[in-house]
Symmetry: C2
Subunit: 233 residues, 2 copies
């Protein structure tokens, strides 16, 4: 008879626990704080024991990327509204960057095809094809949407990183903004460039800009659908 696994004096390590701990460290202190030794310490385990469950540091980072894509909610295609589904998808991607400013960039940077990313993309593609798009158009639209959402999210968190712990956008008057931004620019930078930085990255309503760009992409998609329908009739 095997030993009963009731006595879990110390929960056995597994890949999932390792990755969750890694994400925790990255969220709290940034990617550069993650090390295999630190990971072992965090898990209360010999640092080298981690290698039993994971293939090395790169594999840990790949795994964290996968974890993040898993966090994306599944499409709920019951209502059959492909546009609403795409919009939710795009917003969820952007939200992931906000929830994990340090970790989310990994989603784009690991040379892997995370299975959950493909799974979610599959759902969106199905919804688009069900709505009458052919597969090429569907893929093109989805690709545009993913690229934009990740690019936008990345740009936002890179701005947060400027002020790190501080609030973003820096609260207060436009004059405070000016001062805050000027600190990140070499002394002697012309004021006109500080203005550009503010106009581009701090002044506009980030949510509204994102939404209206998504609108643009979606209306482009809608147009293509009409044309396709017109041509096939």
């Amino acid at each position: 008879m095997r030993e009963p696994d009731a006595t879990v004096a110390r929960e056995p390590l597994n890949r999932a626990r390792v990755l969750k701990a890694a994400l925790g460290i990255i969220d709290a202190e940034g990617v550069e704080a993650l090390s295999m030794r630190r990971l072992g310490a965090e898990l209360g385990v010999d640092p080298m024991a981690v290698y039993r469950h994971v293939d090395g540091k790169d594999a840990v980072l790949d795994g964290v990327a996968e974890l993040l894509w898993e966090e994306l909610p599944d499409a709920c295609p019951e209502d059959g509204d492909w546009a609403a589904s795409l919009r939710a998808f795009a917003s969820a991607i952007r939200s992931l960057f906000h929830a994990h400013p340090h970790a989310a960039p990994l989603m784009l940077q690991r040379p892997v095809l995370p299975v959950p990313q493909l799974e979610k993309s599959h759902q969106q593609l199905e919804a688009l094809q069900a709505a009458g798009f052919d597969r090429e158009d569907a893929a093109e639209i989805l690709r545009t949407l993913i690229s934009f959402s990740t690019g936008y999210g990345l740009a936002e968190v890179t701005c947060y990183a400027l002020v790190d712990g501080e609030a973003w956008p820096p609260p207060g008057s436009e004059r405070d903004l000016l001062i805050a931004f000027a600190q990140f620019l070499p002394p002697g930078t012309p004021a006109r460039l500080v203005d550009v930085a503010i106009a581009l990255w701090a002044m506009a309503d980030s949510d509204a800009t994102f939404e209206s760009s998504i609108d643009l992409i979606l209306s482009g998609a809608r147009l293509r659908l009409e044309r396709r329908r017109g041509a096939s009739e």
Copy 2:
């Protein structure tokens, strides 16, 4: 009298030379190959001498990001065609990713406001305002364009990284593509997901997708300009 600087037995180190060497290493072997010691070796110099000209490794990476933004061609607004200028800007950003697949991601990831980025953005903003956009709209459009171009470029180079030295997209029949992609997915991944990967990242015409997305953004911008003009008259 000072010593004439004619005898340049060994060209004196300076920030620009350090950064150029760093970019060279990253281009050739990837970011993870860059180390301060390696940098010193590449320059034929005591590794610690590099610290005289640069503030540390992070500053080197910041500097490389700056170098890349500098490579972007300036706007040539003589013809006054704001849309053409924006399109060239977007294409140039994407081209930078193709030219520096390993280094270009740094453009988005360093918590700095690279002055040349602001400079180039300034030129685009001016062109837009000259065409009748108000500053908020101009900033929003430019922000959307930059986010999309960088996101798209980043997605592309992450795909290249999958096959690294190999050609991209992998040449040959659709069947070869299937096999090539399947190798990067865990064994037992459903074929349907391999299909998704191919449809999303290998099948579509990358250039055409990019251009048509830019069209979308530009036509949205044009629409806003019309409205703005209509309202003010």
